[in-house]
Amino acid sequence: MRGVVIRLILGFVPGFVFFGSVLAQSKPVAATTEFVPVPADESLLNKLSNGYQSDYKEELTHLPSVNKKDYEDIYDERWKSIKERFDKQEIYTDPAAQAYLDALVAEIVSRNPVLKATPFHCYFSRSRVPNAEYIGEGIILINMGLFDRLSDESQVAFILCHEISHFVLHHQENSIVKQVETLNSPEFQAKLKAIQHSEYNKRAEVEGLVKGFAFDSRRHSRDHEAQADSMAVVLMRATRFDLNGALGTLALLDTVDKDDFNLAAFLQLTFNSTGYPFKKKWLKKEEGLMGGHVQLEQSELSDSLKTHPSCPLRIKLLTPMVQSWNTPGRMKNVIDFSRFDELRERFKYEVIEYAYVSEDYSGNLFYSLELLRDRPNDPYLIAGIGRALNGIYEAQKGHRLSKVVDLPGPEYAANYNLLLQFIQNLYLEDLASITYNFLTPWHPRLDHLTVFKTAYEQSAKTAAL
C-alpha cells in the first residue's frame, strides 16, 4: 500500500500530504448493485501524456542558461514522475467524474479572473492515499482516497484552491531555482572544496552542510504551505463556497490517523472456517530485535524537517480570515451534492480496484477488508479479496511477493502492519486453503461474477495441491 506511509516529501513541494491510513468508517450500506470499475481510457491517457510532454519540452527551452544542465536534470526527473502517473493509469478518465471536477474548478476560476491567464488542469487520482498535489506542468491531482473522506464540496474547493495556489505562486519552480542556485553558489562550492581537500572528518562537515541545506529547504516548504493556505482562502472568498470548508478540511486531516478497526478480530472472523480453522500463529509477531519493534523517531530534529506546519497551527492561522470573510449565504455545496456523494461512494471501490491493477495486493486486501467490515455481503469485495489472495499466492510461489506486498515497517499504521504480518506468516498451503474456504460459501451464488468465478476456481485448484 504505497501510501499509508508517514513520510517526508523531499525536494519539490507537494500540496497536502496526509498521514495515516483510515478515517472513521462510513455507515454500513448494503451494496444493492455490484460495483463495476470504470475502465481506463488508454487513448485519452496517451493523448494527455503526449500533450504534457510537449509542454515539458517547451518548458526546457525557457530554463535559465546558467546551470542549465542542473535544471534540465530536475525537470527531467519531474517529467518522468508525471508520465508515470499516466502510464500506470493512475489518472481517472471517467468522463462524468471529470465533468464534475471541471465544474468545481470552473466555479473557482470563473470567479477569480486572475487564474484564467495561467491554465491548469485538475484530475482525480485513483490513489487511496489521502493526498492532493500539484505535480508540475500545470497538473493538479486530488486523490480519491482524500475525496471520499470529505464532507461537502466546500472542502473539495479548499483543497483545489490550495493546490492552485502552489501552482500560481510557482512554489515548485521556485524551490528548484533555490536548490540549483544554492548547490552552485560560490559559498556552497567553497565549502565542498574545503571538504574535498580535508583528508579527515569529512562526515561531520558534510553532515553540517547538508543539514543546513535540508533545514532551509524544509522551512521554505512550510512557508509555502502557509502561503498556499492563505491564498486558498482568498480564492475561495470569490466563490460561493462556505469558507469554513477550509477549517473543516484541516480538522479532518488532523484526525486522519484515527482508526478504531479491530483488524485482528476481523481477520479471525473472516478467515476462520470449519474447513480450515484460523490459527493464532498467523497473527504472531516475533519479539523485536533490541527490545522492541522499530518506531519512527520523533525529535526536535524531525519537527524541524517537517515539510508541513501542523494542522492545529494551520487552523489557527486561517481562522481570523475565515471568520471575517465568511459572509452569510455561502454554501457548503454549490455544484451538485448528489454527484459529490455518488463519487465518494464510487471512489471507495475505485481505489481498491486501482490497488489491484497496480499490483499493490497488500493495499488492495487492506482496503477491501476495511470496507467489508461494514458491507459483509458485498460481491465485489468478496470476489476481490479472493482475487488478491490468489495474487499473493502466485507471487509467493513465483518468488516475487516483495513486489506486490509491503513488509511490516514503522511507517505504516498498526492495522496495516498487522495485515502485513499476517501475510508474512502464511505459507502457500495456508493461503490456498484460506482463499478457498473464504470463497466457498459464496459459490455458486456469485458465480455470475467473472472475477469471483475465476478466483474461486483458481483457489480450488491450489487448495487441492
Binding site: R203, V206, L401
Partner: protein, 532 residues
C-alpha cells in the same frame, strides 16, 4: 522491496538526499540536483564504504542483519564506522557510530535477547575485539584477546566459509548472559583450540584452554545450550595419526569441562556431527558416524549413523544405530564401504525435531574423485611433486526421517549437480572421511546454506545453493526442501538478477534475504522473499 540507503545510513541526517549504496566500493551521496560538470557535488567529496554484512541470530532464528560502513576517516590510523542494525523485516533499528583502527573487520554477530555482540578483528593491534551493546546502542563492554599466527586457520575460515546457519560459525549466544567463541589454534603441527566466554551482564571474560595434553586436537562446535558449549573433539596421539573422537561439554559458569566422553569407550568409535536439545528434557541428541569396534576413525569406513542421547552431564543414556547396509539400504543404494551410490559419504548438517514429534536430518554427500589437474602436475613433475591426484566433490542432498526411537523410517536423495570442492593438494594424508568432512565444512565447500523454519519446526525449509543447467533458466539457483508438516516440496529460486553480485542470507521463518549490489548505480538492494 526495501532499499537500504547507505548514504542515509552513513550520514544520518541527510534526510533530504536520495541515495544509494555499494558493497566494497565507495558510495557517494548525491543531492537531487548535481552541479554541472567541473563543479563539486557531495558525491565527489564524500564516500562511505560497506565493509561487512551478515545476519544476527538468536536461538537459531534470524533476528536481523548488520551492515558495517566505514563512514569517515578520523586520522592516519583511525576510521569512524557506522554499524547499522536492521530488524528481520529490514527496518533500520539503530545506527551505532564508533571510532576504531582503520584495519578492523567485523567477523560475526550474535544476539541473546538482552544485548547484541560483534566480534571484530583488529589487524593493527592483532586483537580480536568483542563489543557488546545494549538496546540503546550504547557500548556496554569491550573484550580483547590477542590473535597471532596460531589463529590463521580461523581467519582463513572467515574468508572462505559459507556458514551453515547464517553468519555465525564461532560466536554463540549462551543463555541471556553472554557469548562464547571457539577458536581453532595451530602452531606448526600442533593443533588445539580455545574457548572464550564474554559476559553481557558484567565485565567478565575467561578463556578456556584444554587442560589435558591435547596438543593435537581439532574441535568442531556442535551447538550450545544455556550453559554448555558442545564440541566434537578429535584427539590425536601425534599429528594425523590414531585419533579418538570425544564429545566435550564446556560449562561457561564453572569454566570447566562438564564432560569429555570418549565416544569409542565401547570400542565402537563415534564421530559426532550435529546436536540438538531433546525437547522436554535436559538431554541432548547427538548424531554422527559410528564405526566397527576397534576401527581407526582416521582410516576406516563408517558403519552407519548413530544417534546418542546424552545427559547434560555427558552420560550416554541411549544409543541407536542405523547401519548403512541394514537400515539405510532399505531406502538408499549403499555400497560395501558405507558409501551411498552416486552420493558418496554423508555429512550431517542439521537435526530437526519437528512439531509432530518426528526427527528429520539434513545431510549432504561428498566423495573423492580423480583430479585432472593433480594428475597432470604429478605426471609432469615425474612424481617428484605429489600434488594429490584426487579432489573432493560435493554431491547430493539427503533428507532422512527418524521415528521417536531414532530409527530410520525414510531417506530421500535430492539430486543436484556435483560441484568440485577442492583438490586435495597438501592434504594427501587426509584419509579420514570425517576429517575431510570437517575440513570441507570449515572451508565452506558444502552447498548446504541453512535451515529456516518456525520456532517449533512445524514448517521448515532446508536450503542450499544449486545450479540449473536445463530449462528456461540456466544459472545459479537457491533451492529449498520445504516440509509443511505433512510432506516435502522442492522450491527453486532462480538467482537471476541484473545485479553485479548477489548474496542470499537466511531470513525469518519461510523467507530468505537477498542482497544485490548494482555496481553501475552504486546501489545495494535488500529484499526478503518468501520461499514457495
Amino acid at each position: 522491496m526495501r532499499h537500504v540507503n547507505l548514504k542515509l545510513s552513513a550520514l544520518g541526517l541527510l534526510l533530504a538526499i536520495a541515495g544509494t549504496v555499494n558493497g566494497g566500493q565507495p558510495v557517494a551521496s548525491s543531492v537531487t540536483a548535481k552541479p554541472a560538470e567541473g563543479k563539486l557535488s557531495i558525491d565527489k567529496v564524500y564516500s562511505v564504504y560497506l565493509r561487512n554484512s551478515g545476519a544476527i541470530m538468536n536461538k537459531n532464528q534470524i533476528k536481523g542483519y548488520f551492515l558495517l560502513y566505514q563512514s569517515d576517516k578520523v586520522d592516519r590510523h583511525t576510521n569512524e564506522y557506522t554499524l547499522q542494525i536492521l530488524d528481520e523485516n529490514l527496518n533500520k533499528i539503530k545506527d551505532i557510530k564508533f571510532e576504531d583502527s582503520k584495519s578492523i573487520s567485523l567477523l560475526e554477530s550474535a544476539y541473546n535477547g538482552s544485548s547484541i555482540s560483534f566480534l571484530f578483528k583488529n589487524e593493527d593491534q592483532k586483537t580480536l575485539d568483542m563489543k557488546i551493546y545494549d538496546f540503546d546502542g550504547k557500548l556496554k563492554y569491550t573484550y580483547s584477546r590477542d590473535f597471532d599466527r596460531r589463529t590463521d586457520d580461523l581467519m582463513k575460515q572467515y574468508v572462505n566459509m559459507r556458514t551453515d546457519e547464517g553468519t555465525n560459525r564461532n560466536v554463540f549466544d549462551i543463555g541471556d548472559e553472554g557469548y562464547a567463541s571457539v577458536l581453532p589454534l595451530r602452531d606448526g603441527k600442533q593443533r588445539t583450540y580455545e574457548l572464550d566466554y564474554y559476559s553481557s551482564v558484567s565485565k567478565k571474560q575467561f578463556t578456556y584452554t584444554p587442560e589435558d595434553a591435547e596438543k593435537f586436537a581439532v574441535a568442531e562446535v556442535l551447538g550450545s545450550t544455556d550453559s554448555l558449549v558442545l564440541l566434537n573433539v578429535l584427539k590425536f596421539t601425534h599429528a594425523g595419526k590414531d585419533a579418538t573422537s570425544h564429545l566435550v561439554g564446556i560449562n561457561i559458569y564453572t569454566r570447566k569441562k562438564q564432560f569429555d566422553v570418549a565416544t569409542d569407550e565401547d570400542k565402537a568409535p563415534f564421530t559426532p556431527m550435529a546436536v540438538t536439545p531433546l525437547d522436554g528434557t535436559n538431554d541432548l541428541l547427538i548424531m554422527g558416524s559410528y564405526f566397527e569396534a576397534g576401527a581407526n576413525v582416521m582410516k576406516d569406513a563408517s558403519k552407519g549413523l548413530a544417534i546418542y542421547e546424552v545427559t547434560s552431564n555427558g552420560k550416554i543414556v541411549n544409543k541407536t544405530l542405523n547401519s548403512w547396509d541394514g537400515d539405510f539400504s532399505r531406502y538408499l543404494a549403499i555400497s560395501d564401504k558405507g558409501r551411498i551410490d552416486n552420493v558418496g559419504y554423508m555429512y550431517i548438517h542439521k537435526i530437526i525435531h519437528s512439531a509432530d514429534g518426528k526427527f528429520f536430518v539434513a545431510g549432504e554427500g561428498y566423495k573423492r574423485t580423480a583430479s585432472a589437474m593433480g594428475i597432470a602436475t604429478t605426471v609432469l613433475s615425474g612424481g617428484r611433486a605429489y600434488n594429490g591426484v584426487t579432489k573432493m566433490t560435493i554431491t547430493d542432498m539427503v533428507v532422512m526421517q527418524f521415528d521417536n526411537r531414532f530409527k530410520l523410517t525414510g531417506a530421500t536423495i535430492y539430486d543436484k549437480p556435483n560441484s568440485s570442492a577442492l583438490d586435495m593438494t597438501g592434504a594427501a594424508d587426509m584419509n579420514s572421511q570425517h576429517m575431510i568432512a570437517m575440513y570441507l565444512k570449515s572451508m565452506g565447500c558444502f552447498d548446504y546454506d541453512f535451515t529456516t523454519g518456525d520456532d517449533d519446526y512445524s514448517n521448515f525449509s532446508i536450503c542450499y545453493s544449486d545450479w540449473e543447467r536445463t530449462g528456461d533458466f540456466k544459472g545459479k539457483t537457491f533451492t529449498s526442501i520445504h516440509y509443511n508438516g505433512k510432506k516435502f516440496n522442492v522450491d527453486k529460486l532462480p538467482l537471476k538478477s541484473k545485479a553485479s553480485s548477489l548474496k542470499v542470507f537466511p531470513g525469518k521463518p519461510g523467507s530468505v534475504m537477498i542482497m544485490e549490489y548494482f555496481k553501475k548505480d552504486k546501489r545495494l538492494d535488500f529484499r526478503l522473499e518468501k520461499l514457495g
